[in-house]
Amino acid sequence: MIEIKGLTKKYGSFYALNDLNLTLEEGTVFGFVGANGAGKSTTFSILATLLQPTSGDAFVNGKSVKTDAHEVRKQIGYMPDFFGVYDQLKANEYLDFYGASYGISEKEREVLIPQLLELVNLSHKRYDYVDLLSRGMKQRLCLARSLIHDPKVLILDEPASGLDPRARVEMRDILRQLKGMGKTILISSHILPELAEMCDEIGVIDGGRLIAHGSVADIQAQLAGEKQITVKLKGLLENAVQFFEEDPFVSKVELEVEKNSITFNYRGTEEDQINLLRKALDQSLKIISFSETETDLEDVFMEITKGVK
């Protein structure tokens, strides 16, 4: 379980984090969304005990990052957004070094390392030098490294950044496996739709403040209470435009003649929406389809962070 209480980090007069409060239950996959410099990496660095907060505290399974840093380190696996590897060290030696750094015995390491390499699909690269691996392979190896001491919590800062689509898919598959293992995962990413797929909860951070937190569906519902509806018709388009414009919950009606469709924003309840469709059919409008447009996470993010300073 992760508890963040009033976490604040100041650099001079600049607030990198401002009174961040967050509670995550065990086994949750939490996606952290935010623009560059929003405070995601600062939060992760504090959780990874690399930065001391100016005020507030964070607890990993009850251990404070401020006073119990050593204990916290045993419980977290951290993968930074940018990281380097040692030259002239082979993949298995790389994992062996970090395994030893976590105090894992040589015997255990001998068993663990092939399993971890298998998990991240790098068994065939076991004896290759890490500095010669591709970016995607290095990312996967770093993920294996963060798992070597079997942490309960994984903190992954932009694990898919800079990867090609294939490597991203591979990374996503590994993360799904880890989710299946019951790990609590905190993940930040710019590729927002990927988070929507994987995460149980999402937090949107902007200017060091957590401005939205909840399930993907909850956050989408927070979108100023409006949804976009597209209606496809057969003929009578002008009549239909007039009909929808008269509804009190409808705004921004747009007609697309080529597609024979009308798109509008709707802020009514589901009941109102049912009534609207019923009335439209009563008006003899030839409706082929009446559907809500899927709002993707990037739209949500843009909408939520709009005007937040």
């Binding site: 045993k74 951290y78 990281f83 380097g84 060290l89 030696e93």
Partner: protein, 225 residues
């Protein structure tokens, strides 16, 4: 002690150091330089005297010169090996990961310092066969050799410690290296100069000017001002 030496950073650093050809060529050139000096010295001494043998005083002089050369080498190499120990991890972006492991900061620093000193000790030990030539001609006791090696070790530890300190507090390796070399020069050349000045002044006070050039130099300065 066993636990200290099983330090993962130490093991990794030693492994990486000996995978690099640089380390071996470094030792090779160091030994070549020492051989040139020793054999050159023996050849010159025997040719000039025409006797074909080496007197014990000459042997001691050779030992002293060899020790100075080795000291100079230690002073020159130690900052290079230690001043980048932590800052290069920072530059390579491997430090953050290392800091999130269960290792304490002491273990990391101990591993880095020990690996550098281990390499320097290897360098010194590799030069022992050349040193042993001094014993062939007599004039130097094994105790003197032991003391000089202890002095080398303490010098490595001190300069290495300073290098690691700068490497930890300064972000850039190049700046840390300049700071370490600067401090090393202060501790050797500047303190050496101060020592000579004090010795010279003492000589002046005792009225025995002839033995120290520094005393003459100081006397000239005093007369000028």
């Amino acid at each position: 002690m066993k636990q200290l030496l099983a330090n993962p950073v130490l093991v990794k650093e030693i492994k990486l150091r000996f995978r690099s050809l640089k380390s071996f060529t470094g030792i090779l050139f160091y030994l070549i330089a020492m051989c040139i000096f020793v054999f050159g010295f023996i050849m010159l001494t025997t040719s000039f005297t025409g006797t074909g043998y080496f007197r014990p005083e000459e042997s001691f002089f050779m030992f002293a010169m060899l020790s100075y050369i080795q000291l100079g080498l230690i002073l020159f190499i130690t900052p290079g090996l230690t001043a980048g120990a932590i800052s290069s991890e920072r530059e390579k972006q491997t430090l953050n990961i290392l800091l999130t492991t269960s290792q304490t900061s002491f273990q990391i620093i101990f591993g880095k310092l020990t690996s550098s000193i281990a390499f320097l000790l290897l360098l010194v030990v590799a030069g022992l066969p050349i040193y042993s030539l001094v014993f062939l001609f007599g004039g130097v006791s094994p105790g003197q050799l032991g003391i000089i090696f202890l002095f080398f070790f303490l010098t490595m530890l001190a300069i290495g410690g300073i290098g690691i300190m700068y490497s930890t507090i300064i972000r850039k390796t190049i700046v840390a290296m300049i700071a370490t070399y600067g401090t090393m020069i202060f501790f050797t050349a500047v303190t050496g100069f101060i020592y000579l000045v004090i010795t010279g002044m003492n000589s002046m006070a005792a009225g025995t000017l002839a033995s120290s050039p520094i005393a003459h130099f100081l006397q000239v300065l005093i007369q000028l001002f």
